[in-house]
């Protein structure tokens, strides 16, 4: 029985494929705003910790579980979406006194380097642009989990918390009423593209 050349080529291709190592490529996710949040807390009058949040969060990230250094994160936050459960305070926070949201409508955070630090842990440095000032920040990022959702998609989630000084970003109003340090909590859930 003669084997045709085409059959030989097909067989060779099949064998070479079977012999190749199994790799998981980096996956890109779109941030799901409905299941993601950016919160902040700041000292008020030296007597309490006050919390607020931003409701407008978008962005995407690429996560490579096998090689985290190839991962990247980019988050955009609508400064107008600041929400502290008080209309008058929200108006003040959006004004030139604080976030100056009409002159600087978007806060952004874009990773510069990602390193694996543990089973679920990543160490990230990123450029944070806030109030028109861009500074490098470093934080630990936790990979919360990943898996299929009920709608046939695939999701993953990350969470971090870090502290910045608002004076570093030229937000200096009311230095005696509000603390200089702002702790920011970012929790994102992404849907695989």
């Amino acid at each position: 029985m003669r084997t045709s050349p085409i059959a030989w080529i097909a067989c060779a291709l099949a064998l070479s494929g079977a012999a190749a190592p199994v790799t998981i490529a980096a996956e890109t996710f779109s941030i799901d705003p409905a299941h993601s949040v950016v919160m902040f807390k700041i000292n008020h009058l030296g007597v309490a910790t006050f919390y607020g949040r931003f409701n407008g969060l978008t962005g995407e990230y690429t996560f490579d579980a096998a090689s985290p250094a190839g991962s990247s994160f980019a988050v955009s936050i609508d400064a107008e979406s600041v929400d502290t459960n008080n209309d008058k305070r929200d108006q003040h926070l959006k004004s030139p006194d604080f976030f100056n949201s009409k002159q600087f409508p978007v806060l952004t955070m874009k990773s510069k380097s990602v390193k694996k630090t543990g089973e679920k842990g990543l160490s990230v440095t990123a450029d944070l642009s806030l109030h028109g000032v861009t500074k490098e920040v470093a934080f630990d990022l936790t990979h919360v989990g990943a898996g299929k959702d009920p709608w046939g998609g695939y999701r993953s989630g990350f969470e971090t918390q870090f502290t910045i000084k608002r004076s570093d970003f030229d937000i200096r109003f009311m230095p005696d009423g509000l603390g200089d340090e702002i702790t920011i909590l970012v929790s994102i859930e992404g849907v695989r593209k």
Binding site: T84, K88, K102, P105
Partner: protein
């Protein structure tokens, strides 16, 4: 919540500085130096701005931080063009106002407006600012110095209140610095025989008035009706009969304050009405 020291530096220093310039500059025998009021207002505002927010970097990073540069330049141009041909004064007025408008509105033009809309807004606002300036050219020199300073103090005080009620205490503070400087000029003009608030002072007045109101309108929540009223408020002095203020003194100043104050107060009430309900936070 404003610290007493910040109030002293942001309001006290502008008042004292403006009063000192008006007092030192008194000498009617040397002629009508109409630029002295502008120099006093400009220097007082710059000192107050630096006192409240610090001296801004150059180029300024945010729109309102161009105000001290514009005020200083407006005052300087008033001095430099005092003896220059009138056309040169107008040309420089147009150049400074056009530049100021472009700088103040740069964020809006970047994020919200197309090129054509930006051009229409810039042209419209420039014409409006020039019209206010032309009106002030006629109104202020005709007033006795105390009455003219009252016009400025009342207008900037109204602007400060309206801005503070519209969401930005910082902008309110800046307008407060201008009001404090004008108040210092007023007190000095009641004590010494001062020069009139002349045409050479109008540029810095328009620059400050327009700049503060624009920042409040576009970057805070100052209602546009309030902005229009505050821009027009100093012109309300023209409805006061000359006989009421020609002699100067406190009575003339009060008549003018009432006319301007009604317009400015309306702007403040409208700003208050459109703002979210006040609450302790």
């Amino acid at each position: 919540m404003i610290e007493p020291l910040a109030l002293l530096v942001g309001l006290g220093v502008p008042a004292l500085l403006a009063a000192a310039i008006v007092t030192v500059g008194r000498n009617p025998a040397a002629g009508r130096a109409g630029w002295i009021a502008g120099a006093a207002l400009g220097a007082g505002y710059v000192a107050g701005h630096a006192g409240f927010l610090g001296w801004p970097a150059f180029p300024a990073r945010v729109a309102e931080q161009w105000l001290p540069y514009a005020a200083a330049l407006g005052a300087a141009l008033g001095v430099l063009t005092a003896r220059a041909p009138r056309w040169l004064g107008w040309a420089l007025r147009i150049a400074l106002l056009a530049t100021g408008l472009a700088l103040w509105l740069k964020p809006v033009m970047t994020y919200r407006w197309t090129g054509a809309i930006s051009a229409v807004w810039l042209a419209g606002l420039l014409l409006a600012a020039l019209a206010v300036g032309a009106g002030l050219d006629r109104v202020l020199p005709a007033l006795a110095p105390p009455a003219a300073w009252t016009v400025l103090a009342t207008t900037f005080a109204g602007t400060a209140l309206a801005l503070a009620l519209s969401g930005s205490l910082a902008l309110g503070q800046l307008a407060g610095s201008a009001a404090a400087a004008a108040s210092g000029g007023l007190v000095a003009s009641l004590v010494v025989t001062s020069h009139p608030v002349g045409r050479d002072s109008v540029l810095v007045i328009v620059v400050l008035s327009v700049g503060l109101v624009l920042c409040g309108t576009f970057y805070s929540e100052l209602p546009r009706t309030s902005a229009l009223l505050l821009g027009a408020a100093p012109l309300a002095a023209s409805v006061v009969p000359a006989s009421a203020h020609a002699r100067g003194g406190v009575r003339g100043a009060l008549c003018v304050a009432a006319a301007v104050g009604i317009v400015a107060a309306t702007a403040v009430v409208l700003a208050f009405a459109s703002s979210p309900a006040p609450s302790a936070y």
